[in-house]
Symmetry: C2
Subunit: 209 residues, 2 copies
């Protein structure tokens, strides 16, 4: 075993530490968050810090990094109260990744990265037309994490749009069918295949290991 | 496209809704959180709601479900201020999954599920000996999410233990080498293989799509 202590972590070169700590949280969702400002200028940004908070009400959180040179996603959500989360699939990984570049404020990442904004009636945030699994959310609450100036942004799912064939009879979305990718670390994209499903665990039905 | 509205979501049968909303957050880390109470009785529980919060300081969050019949992880963390997070790999998926059964309070999931508690000097929470990627954390802060009575629990990484061969020269943990799995939905475990790594995105170096 390799042992790394807190003082080792503090002493590591900045990018080495970023790689280590970003990869130790394991596989993460790779999602595009779509927003628009009050004037309708669209924004699209990659996030991997998406977390399921609960099914009823259907709540999803994401972590907004410290506001500074970036932060259009956050400011647009505060202006318009709505946003979309779109799964990155195998076919749009490159376009999705490069939305993370720092474009001029008047440039939409949709256009710069060859992705298409798409709208549904009654909802003002842009979906990614090319995505196969997408949701429209209403902003619920933000919780500042003072220790590192990040923000937990909480939204409630108002709309779900799924490509035909991705919804199983029990309500599960077939992520493999949707070619949804997993991210890891700061720059890695991964393909995923189903390994096993296990039944609800009852204490009196534990297998012999 | 299949369109699902908020009122559809509300109207779905409970397990159908749980499957849908748990799978729409995409691929998730599959992690075992190890704790002990003040008397040293160990607890081990599966979590997939793990989120990277920042690299410096190295902060990880997880979502504690509403406290009720379960919650030993949370109470142990509050008692002892420390816990471990251990990656689930391909070889321990079954044992890891069945830690979610509701065992009697005096039963340790380590023993019930044939996993081995392991300790390092100066740190009171049990690691999973069989895991290849593990971290020891100190409790930092909790943030109650009032909308659904969940809690964001924040910890700082104090120790990292890695199997030899899992650490790349740039600081990345090779999750494929570690056979770390991704979870999805409520009951699915997935194998992952590296697809592509993309460079830091600069606005003046966007590929032609």
């Amino acid at each position: 075993m390799i042992h790394i202590s807190e003082s080792d972590i503090k002493g590591f070169e900045r990018f080495y530490r970023a790689n280590l700590i970003n990869s130790i949280s394991g596989y993460k969702p790779a999602m595009l968050i779509g927003t628009a400002n009050e004037k309708g200028l669209t924004n699209l940004a990659m996030f991997s810090s998406i977390v399921h908070l609960g099914a009823d009400p259907a709540l999803i959180g994401f972590i907004q990094r410290p506001l500074g040179q970036s932060g259009h996603t956050y400011y647009n959500i505060k202006e318009t109260n709505c946003y979309t989360i779109n799964h990155v699939h195998e076919g749009i990984v490159d376009q999705a990744h490069f939305t993370s570049a720092r474009f001029a404020p008047e440039v939409s990442e949709f256009e710069a990265c060859a992705l298409t904004p798409a709208y549904i009636s009654g909802f003002n945030a842009p979906f990614v037309k090319e995505a196969k699994v997408k949701m429209g959310l209403e902003f619920v609450e933000e919780m500042p994490i003072k220790r590192n100036n990040t923000i937990l942004v909480i939204g409630q799912i108002k709309y779900i749009l799924l490509q035909e064939g991705c919804l199983e009879v029990n309500g599960n979305i077939n992520l493999q069918h949707a070619a949804t990718v997993a991210s890891s670390g700061l720059e890695n994209y991964n393909l995923v295949r189903h390994f096993k499903s296990l039944p609800y665990a009852h204490a009196d039905e534990i297998p012999k290991f």
